[in-house]
Symmetry: C2
Subunit: 625 residues, 2 copies
């Protein structure tokens, strides 16, 4: 038997385009002698549609494609994900009942199976409601269906059954999160969907996914499937098919890597797609030997580089064309240099409008860096001095008596709003926000200034990752110094040209690079580490080890003095909280970590607050010293 996994580029909000692709892949698979083709979860309308899911007309439209896809199933079994509605019942939100469902058609008929569910469909059992996922907001799960209909989940998780030639086949279909079962419980046990499908007779299983890329997810997935194998005691060939493409949820841009993978009966990887982030029809002959293969894990920075390029390219779908220009302010600092290089790699130099916007505090050296960089990349470069406009702005506000910080913001706002955002408007282009995750976390940014943009390519990269990615580009992509090495510090974070906003005389960024990056990684990680734990590590002398930073760094920043350490810690935690109001008005960030600002980390405006346990530890530390 030949099975096709359609690693399809799903376009959110474009069911007709997706349907045409489904048709095309199905025809191709049939021609190539496949008996089964499997498509990803929610491949008709896309997955990250936010409250579009609450619009009945849209939902009914999506459902209408189920008939159309059924009609394509002559001589080939089609498995795919789409919406299932039950108009006779209500969702918990009082709207029409909706399921994130899997469908299986063959010869224009739904595939039969045992159990209480209608023929030809299955329902997603485990609904992720963390990070960017809101499945519980929109869909009703199989477990809730079981509870509502007084049935047992075990009886509902039945394989589809049919005959191909003379052979009876029984296969299970599960949907994305259904394989990430370990934290879900049913009668005190992990709710292992694969196990139940196997126990109910599945000879093989399809997992159809819309699973966003994160670095290392392939290994995590392999582990889950191994756990499932061990939990089940035996296993069956397992076909994981995931989409590619870029979807968004307003505040984040989310890339899908595909990475469709075939596992054997020992839950070992035996085959994967040819290329990540790339549409592909993977055809597998089940008579072929299922020998395990070993995949070299991608280096984190290389993986993030591939993802950010993909995320930038995703703007073409959002904008509805692939001709608009990117407007990028190039200051001579590393963030804007890296952004320009990434744009160059993603869309080429013809679509980039680089602007250097000097005022009196911009040094000769950064201006030269900007000129050299744009020269090397062959970018369209505009130099627009803003001094006159800054002076007029200052004069208009003179009676309010602006302080130094206000005068800095005035410059940043003229750059971001008066110049760059207007150029983007004139050219119908996209302005980039060049901020990194450390600046965004600490609010070391000017709202309506450098916060501006329609996309933040570096918004989920720590500054240390910005340095790493810049080195990676010089070394492995350009094979020459495009981003000046002078902008990249040595291992102890000493700079030739230190990061600066250049908004006043001799300004350098107040961040303790390396250390603050590590703190922010801890504070924003999926499993968050609190300031309490940071003090405890400090007191136990294991902070550097825990943060993976050189021991010398603490001393260099004076943090070996507990008073300095505490003041700095409270500056960081306080700044993070105070910057929420800026993030509320920030542009979409491409997700590159397991926890990005935007719609991934959701934030209320709350007071800066320290727990009793924090205050107690702080007291102990300061008294002891």
């Amino acid at each position: 038997m030949k099975i096709a996994l359609a690693q399809m580029r799903v376009i959110a909000g474009q069911p007709w385009k997706n349907f045409e692709k489904i048709k095309q892949f199905t025809d191709e698979a049939r021609q190539k002698g496949c008996q089964i083709i499997a498509f990803p979860e929610m491949c008709v309308g896309g997955y990250l549609l936010a409250d579009r899911w609450t619009e009945d007309a849209w939902c009914n439209h999506l459902v209408s494609f189920n008939d159309r896809i059924r009609e394509l199933s002559e001589d080939i079994i089609i498995i795919y994900g789409n919406l299932l509605v039950d108009r006779s019942r209500k969702n918990k939100d009082g709207r029409m009942r909706k399921y994130n469902a899997g469908f299986a058609f063959y010869n224009r008929k739904p595939l039969p199976r045992a159990g209480a569910l209608p023929e030809g469909v299955t329902i997603k059992s485990l609904l992720p409601s963390y990070r960017i996922f809101d499945d519980e907001r929109y869909f009703y799960s199989l477990t809730e269906y079981a509870c509502d209909t007084n049935t047992q989940v075990e009886d509902l998780l039945q394989p589809f059954q049919t005959t191909i030639g003379n052979e009876v086949i029984r296969f299970g279909v599960e949907i994305c999160e259904d394989l990430w079962f370990n934290d879900y419980r049913y009668r005190g046990e992990p709710l292992n969907i694969s196990k139940r499908l196997i126990e109910n007779g599945a000879q093989f299983i399809f997992n159809i996914s819309s699973s966003p890329w994160t670095h290392g997810k392939d290994r995590a997935r392999n582990n889950r499937i191994q756990e499932s194998f061990r939990d089940t005691g035996r296993f069956v060939p397992f076909y994981y098919v995931n989409c590619t493409g870029v979807q968004n949820n307003g505040k984040n841009i989310v890339v899908f890597d595909g990475d469709s993978t075939i596992y054997n009966e020992k839950a070992q990887v035996v085959r994967t797609c040819n290329k990540l982030f790339t549409e592909e029809l993977l055809i597998h002959d089940t008579d072929a030997a299922l020998n395990p293969i070993k995949k070299e894990p991608l280096d984190a920075i290389k993986a993030k580089y591939l993802a950010v390029i993909e995320g930038i390219r995703g703007m073409d779908e959002i904008m509805g064309n692939d001709r608009f220009p990117y407007i990028v302010g190039v200051s001579g600092g590393i963030d804007s240099a890296l952004t320009a290089c990434l744009l160059y790699q993603a869309v080429g130099n013809k679509r980039i409008v680089a602007c250097n916007l000097p005022a009196k505090y911009n040094s000769q050296i950064t201006r030269e860096i900007a000129a050299n960089l744009t020269g090397k990349l062959g970018l369209n470069m505009h130099c627009i001095p803003i001094e006159e406009m800054v002076n007029v702005n200052n004069r208009l506000l003179e009676s309010f008596n602006p302080g130094e910080l206000n005068r800095e913001n005035i410059q940043a706002k003229i750059r971001g709003t008066s110049i760059l955002s207007n150029i983007a408007g004139i050219l119908n282009g996209v302005m980039t926000c060049n901020g990194n995750k450390v600046e965004i976390a600490l609010g070391y940014t000017t709202l309506y200034g450098d916060v501006n943009g329609a996309i933040a390519p570096l918004g989920d990269l720590l500054k240390t990752e910005v340095f790493e990615m810049a080195s990676f580009l010089n070394r492995e992509i350009f094979s020459e110094e495009v981003i000046p090495w002078a902008l990249i510090p040595d291992e102890s974070f000493q700079f030739k040209v230190a990061p600066s906003a250049e908004l006043r005389e001799n300004q350098v960024d107040p961040m303790k690079w390396g250390y603050h990056d590590a703190l922010i990684r801890m504070f924003t990680d999926y499993q968050k580490t609190g300031a309490e734990t940071i003090i405890r590590w400090y007191m136990d002398g294991e902070l550097c080890k825990r943060l993976s930073i050189p021991e010398t760094l603490l001393k260099r920043y004076g943090l070996d003095d507990p008073r300095v350490f505490i003041d700095d810690l409270e500056w960081v935690t306080g700044s993070i909280q105070r910057a929420v109001y800026k993030r509320i008005q920030s542009p979409p960030i491409i997700i590159l970590s397991k926890s990005s600002y935007g719609y991934d980390i959701r934030e209320s405006q709350l007071p800066v607050y320290y727990t009793d346990s924090y205050n107690e530890l702080k007291k102990q530390l300061l008294e002891r010293s």
Copy 2:
């Protein structure tokens, strides 16, 4: 027996402050001879904390207050809502297991009760995951607990039992959404929590809530309790206690009205708090007769006025002081006039810095309106002409050849960013965004211009509601013409001074006032009406009736021509979709409807798309005419 309902102003993120209030109210209730005091849901840390709920240190800190509150329960039963954690189990998100819980202590001990749950606690059964609510993201429900522990929900929903004097009392505690049971299912039936508590012996029930205000929710709640009464067959005295105060979820500001209410055994309202939006200790003697009272429903605009004032005042908690100024641009149009009046009512004229920022297109009439208005309110007024800065900005961009729309945006951005946002920065103040819901929906706004601000008081009011609220203020609050009647249209939406952005010669807003408001109400309503339905109503001749607009309006706007009607409809639907990118970067909106932009309506950037059924109806309509 005397029962105290503590309609407490809960401060999000401030457990110690809330605990002090709990202590104070408990002492007062004890002194006044109460045997029971009930506090709202999540009254220790607040409810709308977004991903603060994913921080273990914070959660552990909240839990530590349970011991402290238990210690307050000498001679008085304390019922309240807070977090319950189970460190031995995992949530579905892989983090620590968390419950939105109710607690009951008496004489420093947890109250006993039957069933499998620990003494002294109950768990929220129904977890809202719609609108701004994300309970499923953070908490594990009682139904999930039942599924996990292989118990039955009926057996878990047991009343607490104790003896006061010689009297045995048994009362149930339910949490907020638990009374909104009709859309939740368990074995095919609505999951009526009150019914199960009553069947298990509850003589009375407390519902402890953190239930945001929406207009008409009191009637909706009364209806639900009536339904519960009918479904149960009998009922018991029912004590609803809700918090006051203002909380936020980043993109929205949410007001809580309290409205604590006592219902009798026939589910009739017998007593309510004295004042909405106001902290109060409501003491009720159970020996008193429980005769139904009739409450006059509040007029919608008056209710929204009270709510918006409360929302503005809530900024004091966000800012951490009550002295900062509000910076408001006063253009002479109705939106900024209304905003200024609302600020005046909320915080008084001393805290308002009004700015009129004329350029060459601002008419004498609007400049006079602005001057008169600020004069009448006694506001600190600055007139800052922006023409020079506009000229410099235009000159800097001349080589890019800006078009008319770009030149309009340049002016708006200088106002919003270069002047107003800088003044706010200098004065450590809060700039208001004066946009209304129609502008925000259609994106008839300039990003980094009039979109700017830290709060959007009118952001959830249609323009028609802006007119109504302006009239209401003139008539009932000021008892004189503060907002010029000339800015308010007659019933057929004819203006003396028509709404205009005044960014070019003779500009008037392109909106079809009255009609577009009604469309946007339909498109954004909780139960959304699609463009398909609008065409159907139009074809059936019932559009005006359905939209509650005068029949004459369609003709006046030329919409009786189907071609004009369709073009306009697609302009509206297309504009709403294209404006998502602006809303991503918009400031927090005070929620005043059942469906506000922000975190209530969540949006992806998606292409403008029409369903097949829309296209079919459009074809029919255009062919027929």
